[in-house]
Symmetry: C2
Subunit: 196 residues, 2 copies
DNA sequence: ACCTGAACACCGTTCAAGT
DNA sequence: ACCTGAACACCGTTCAAGT
């Protein structure tokens, strides 16, 4: 009897850390706070994750994983690339607490890693190689990253939810789609592509 | 005789803070550290700048001011807009410690404020108004911001200067110019413009 | 007006010690 | 292998008190 005391997992530490950030913002993610949340001594967290930097990296990686789960849509290469990029953008805006955490810690790269991989896949399938591929990938990442930073500016570590509904239909969203479409148009050949 | 003890200035506090960041990276900017640097008690800094957030804002604003000093070149609207944008990009990469500080604290907006103003000026002179102007400005800021984040990724709070010379001729620099040119081309009419 | 010492409530991290 | 209490060296911020 009494409450079930499951042995603590590295995955659970990361999961609870993620939830803490989503619930109370990036600033709430301290080792001590997380320890209290897990009902555990602070050094226990170090045993499981090594350091705060590693913890943050793990949380961001987990988010990247989740963002990459959304299925890429469209039949032409251009549509699919655009779809992949917009998935990451939209997801990062929705869970902006974690996106902010990534920006603050300089780990935005990790957040985009899976998108980068997906883009390379789609673009190679579309026939791009070498420098052309690299330029296309980087251009798209530039637009996604820049849009994210501008969309989330002023949002720093406090979970103030005014205008929560406004974000979906905001100007910058439309402009992002537009700019993204232009960049994709510029770098990706228009050939149709059927999945074999 | 004895060393001249000038009365402390708000401007001097900000200046020394700026130098500290440039010399030892964003992480070195703590109120206590800065106080030691100024040979002063910690509360003195609070008397002059109010809080750490205000201090950071002031440092970033000072940097924005410096970036805006570089003269805009070119005779056509497109050239001048491109020139303004590249000035900010180049300057932000050169003094990347402060750029990182701005990103970490979510104040990248302040860093771009003067560029934004300059862009609005140039674009209005080129005949843009209303939504077209807003879209043009935001698209350009998106590319500048995105390029900055990608260029500076991995650089987090430590001033490790390997490849210091490589940055100037790096791939992303060329790509940034290229992408920027495309965005400008897309949003700014090609009309020539003479300064009256 | 300008500056201080001392304190409060936090941090990340380590380490000897427990089971 | 997994977890702890206690400590070290830091933070931002405040406040009564000094000149």
């Amino acid at each position: 009897m009494s409450k079930t005391v499951t042995k603590l997992d590295r995955d659970e530490v990361v999961f609870v850390a993620r939830e803490l950030v989503l619930r109370e913002g990036p600033a709430a993610l301290s080792m001590r706070r997380l320890a209290t949340e897990l009902d555990v001594g602070t050094p226990t967290i170090y045993w499981h994750v090594g350091s705060r930097d590693e913890l943050v990296a793990a949380v961001v990686d987990a988010q990247a994983e989740r963002l990459a789960e959304r299925p890429i849509e469209g039949r032409t290469a251009r549509d699919r690339v655009l779809s992949a990029a917009l998935h990451i953008y939209a997801g990062a805006v929705e869970e902006r607490a974690i996106t902010s955490l990534a920006h603050q810690t300089g780990t935005s790269g990790r957040l985009l890693a899976r998108l980068e991989a997906a883009l390379v896949g789609e673009l190679e399938a579309a026939g791009l190689r070498g420098a052309a591929l690299g330029d296309a990938v980087r251009s798209i990442l530039v637009v996604v990253t820049g849009s994210l930073v501008l969309t989330l500016r002023d949002y720093a570590s406090r979970p103030d939810d005014r205008d929560h509904a406004l974000w979906s239909g905001c100007d910058l969203d439309a402009l992002t789609t537009d700019t993204l479409r232009a960049v994709v148009h510029r770098h990706v050949p228009p050939n149709k592509r059927s999945r074999s």
